[in-house]
């Protein structure tokens, strides 16, 4: 919290060319551009932009102040809901921020506009290694916004051994204290890395093997979760949980019992959320101005400070406090990144197979649907028996 305030001050100071003036006067000195009447519609993840609370910079308000373009900002919870919203035609947006595999899916389905990089000069700040990534090989459609890695959070009090691989999530002595991702791509990803397969494999066999591994793990799990991991880890209800580094870093900072580790040897998921412009946008130049604005190192730094993810810009990194930049949760060493992989959109067949396998893992698969049928049949029989008994009784009474 304190850091955020500090950074906001730092940022405002950077805005202000004349040193010595009161830091917080920046807003008044630099005149706001009058409203142009233009508006852009932005669709982003929930709580994924600095919004002025907690002493952070209000990024959207700052954009309006600098350009005179108003921002209509709304939020989504998963890539899939973003996708369905766009496909349904229920809404049209100017800027969206999907994750890697969703970007490639949208590119494949022709849902994205090509960006005009002449309008996004700040793209030059994006570091070379974050350009032309697997999901957008020619880098025509997207500009990375944040990135991060998946690792394991663990409770140091109970998990004392050294963790160097995903195997620990299959360890029987922690049965009932392990959490797992409640979405197919991430959950299968961990199993795939344990088997040293690629996330983006199209080999049916590999997916089946991963599913077998997940089924093995299921009895040891406490639960499949997403954001409940924070509560469960914090209260000590669970001891081991894989999650996105940036999201839960605050846990590690505020709770000395919780540690974080990335299994370097087996590799992990490197995820990117990237800014794109969907087809059917109404204000492409405004959208590009917005993307350009978010790439401004100062803005990017203010954003990262609030979100807790990592920035793809070295220039922004320099503006961040040292303890963040040197923190391996946010910026892990080179070799960890080198051994990570991004998700790419899966071909239709593989995606269908993944859905089926995930259902099998979570529901127990065909074996269990038999029990379901038997239970239902049992209930039905019971019901018939009761009805018959009542009739019989009534007959006797007559």
């Amino acid at each position: 919290m304190r850091r955020k305030t500090k950074l906001a001050a730092l940022f405002l100071a950077a805005l202000l060319p004349c040193a010595g003036a009161p830091v917080f006067a920046a807003e008044e000195t630099e005149e706001a551009v009058p409203l142009t009447g233009e508006k852009i519609y932005v669709y982003n993840w929930g709580e994924y932009i600095a919004d002025g609370t907690d002493g952070s910079l209000d990024v959207n308000a700052e954009f309006t102040r600098r350009t005179g373009i108003e921002v209509d900002y709304s939020t989504f919870d998963t890539n899939e809901s973003l996708y369905s919203k766009l496909v349904s035609g229920g809404a049209s947006y100017d800027v969206i921020i999907p994750s890697d595999y969703m970007v490639s899916r949208m590119i494949n389905e022709g849902m994205l506009e090509k960006l005009n990089f002449d309008n996004i000069p700040n793209f030059r700040y994006i570091d070379e290694e974050y350009r032309n990534m697997g999901y957008d090989p020619t880098n025509e459609y997207s500009v990375p916004y944040t990135w991060g890695l998946v690792g394991i959070f663990y409770n140091k009090q109970y998990v004392t051994e050294e963790i160097d691989s995903w195997d620990i999530l299959w360890e029987e002595k922690y049965a009932g204290k392990i959490l797992m991702f409640d979405n197919p791509r991430d959950a299968f990803g961990i199993a795939q890395k344990r088997l040293s397969f690629s996330f983006n494999s199209t080999d049916e066999d590999e997916w089946i093997q991963a599913a077998v591994l997940l089924k093995e793990q299921k009895p040891l799990l406490q639960m499949y979760v997403m954001d409940q991991i924070f509560d469960k880890m914090e209260s000590g209800e669970a001891w081991l949980a894989p999650y996105y580094a940036g999201d839960a870093a605050v846990l590690v900072e505020s709770n000395e019992n919780i540690g974080f580790v990335i299994p370097t040897e087996q590799g992990t998921n490197f995820f990117v959320d990237a800014m794109c412009i969907p087809k059917g946008c109404r204000n492409k130049s405004g959208a590009e101005a917005y993307i350009n604005f978010l790439c401004d190192p100062e803005i990017a730094a203010a954003n990262m400070e609030y979100i807790g993810y990592s920035t793809p810009e070295s220039a922004a990194k320099e503006l961040l406090p040292e303890e963040v930049v040197n923190n391996p949760i946010y910026y892990p060493p080179e070799e960890v990144i080198a051994n990570s992989e991004v998700f790419v959109d899966l071909p239709q067949e593989t995606a269908l197979q993944l859905d089926a396998l995930w259902a099998e893992v979570k529901m127990g698969g065909p074996g269990d649907s038999m029990t379901l049928i038997l239970t239902l049949a049992g209930f039905f029989l019971l019901y018939v028996a009761v009805v018959v008994y009542k009739k019989w009784k009534r007959k006797r009474e007559l």
């Binding site: 919290m1 709580e47 994924y48 349904s88 035609g89 229920g90 954001d227």
Partner: protein, 269 residues
Amino acid sequence: MKKAVSRVYMALVFLFLYAPILVLVVFSFNDTDTKSRTVWSGFSLRWYEMLFEDRMLLEALRNTLIIAVCAAVGATVLGTVAAVGIHSMKSWRRKLVMNITNLPMLNPEIVTGVSLMLLMVFVANLFGVTLGIVSIILAHITFCLPYVILSILPKLGQMDPHLYEAAQDLGCTPVRSFFKVVLPEILSGVVTGMVMAFTLSLDDFIISYFCSGTTQTLPVFIYSMTKKRVSPEINALSTLLFAVILVLLLIINIRQGKMGKKAAKEANV
């Protein structure tokens, strides 16, 4: 013995009903850096402060309230008119219309949501507009309507039909006699229907989600937080909403109690 068991049972029922709300209220005052919802670390009002700073949250709240008020008023007006119409119908027609109005209540919400969205996208494309707050209000009026009708119809049934005729005999125009005679008689049903429509609209997620376009209501906004972590600001907001509703309920109950006593007295005289 039996009495003790029934008391314990009662206590359990209330515990299960209100314990979650109690926890929510308590944790809205939690002084936490990690947005914890399980570890108590002292009393503070910071989430309430942050709540009033959070522009997006307030905007979502504002949208939700506008939608709820418009939907409640719209549904109540339409519903009252419809109820009066249905009430004066003859047997088979009435049954038919009642069944048709009841269908949307039994229909799974997701079906209502998707079908409304398809219709609205179609209409919006026709006129070259986009979905937004208007489409949500229309959708909410649609799904609130049957509830309003259902809460008004019994009141109309209880009313003496001759009152309306008497008013007209005494020189009222039909419209005037409706407002002078019928409306006061069915008012409690109308108010119940309106309150119901308001709350239904307030916490609707599925239908708003599909019909919202780029507008965001509070439930949709809260849901989008679930990847990171639902902030205790939401606890604070829910606490405030709960308090407001509690106070409203108390006022209504006290008023009704007074009116009931008055009516009883008059009946005795």
